[in-house]
Subunit: 190 residues, 2 copies
């Protein structure tokens, strides 16, 4: 950030009155520009005991497998965002079931929120951000080729619990050392 | 948003290539400026069967009672944010227990994430953003004077479950009709 989004003047770093950390402050109009972590919403789409995964067509982690997930947009709930991403990335309509995992991804400035979901009619396709989509039996999940630590965490907990499905919500803080590059998933993109 | 934060030129509204909704786009350098919902983290600080509440010293909802909560900052986990807010607003050190509630507050562009917490030594004080802080027995919670629907939702579920504490996580979408003004809680503030 170099300029004030309100007036266009240069910004400087400083601690505003009543605050306790550095922010971008406009040198001209005094506007304070906060930067905060971003939410990513996703789901585990299920059909007849299988899980729908997407092979990424975009960076970061192009060609790796992921659960459908993407940035939470203004004007929607988190479950709505998770269902929308399933539609966009895997062309499948889902009914969101319950909150399953909340993953702090601090080094990327993100929180990943994952829901369980049922595919409504078993239909799916390949969205613009996917190279392929496929229903996997739990024993066939491509563990070595998963895109992100939060996807691995969610699938591991899900597979471990499939027998009961009453395990409540799972939380984790995923550090920069939790696996492959997540920071490349840019904040605020679609 | 009037100007590009990268180069200072005027921005326009438009749908970027590969996207499906309007964003702010720089007329000069082409930078896309996303706007996404913000996370608020809070907790239910407990001490010997009582709950610590804060009477707000700032707008919105000045003089109304709230759980300590505030905006999630870059560089911290959600539980760390919840504990920090308890320290800042109620001068109390807490140990975060578990994720308790996730509230979609769509009209405010926010998600409120609430944790249960234990006060470490029972000590508390009055932070800069509070007029007062007080330990309440569950039957004495000032229901008519709570600041936000998400605080009411969280406390209602918590009081209903105090006997068991095994109820998993609670989720809700709170609309503009859910109660008093939440939209006044500005995005990205501290």
């Amino acid at each position: 950030m170099n300029h004030c989004s309100a007036c266009g003047s240069p910004v400087t770093r400083g601690i505003p009155a009543g605050d306790n950390r550095e922010r971008y402050i406009c040198s001209q109009c005094g506007s304070i520009h906060y930067q905060n972590p971003t939410l990513v919403a996703g789901c585990i789409p299920q059909w007849q005991g299988k899980i729908l995964l997407c092979r990424r067509a975009i960076e970061p982690r192009r060609t790796y497998w992921t659960l459908p997930a993407g940035f939470h947009e203004l004007g929607e709930t988190l479950p709505a965002a998770a269902a929308r991403e399933a539609l966009e990335e895997a062309c499948t309509r889902v009914e969101i079931d319950k909150l399953f995992a909340v993953c702090d991804v601090v080094h990327a400035g993100q929180v990943h929120v994952m829901y369980t979901a049922q595919m409504i009619d078993g239909q799916f396709g390949v969205g613009e951000e996917s190279l392929a989509t496929e229903l996997f039996d739990p024993e066939d999940i491509p563990w070595r080729d998963l895109a992100f630590p939060s996807v691995r965490f969610t699938l591991e907990r899900f597979v471990a619990e499939t027998a009961t499905l009453d395990g409540g919500v799972h939380t984790v803080a995923l550090g920069a050392d939790a696996g492959r590059d997540l920071a490349g998933w840019p904040n605020g993109g679609s």
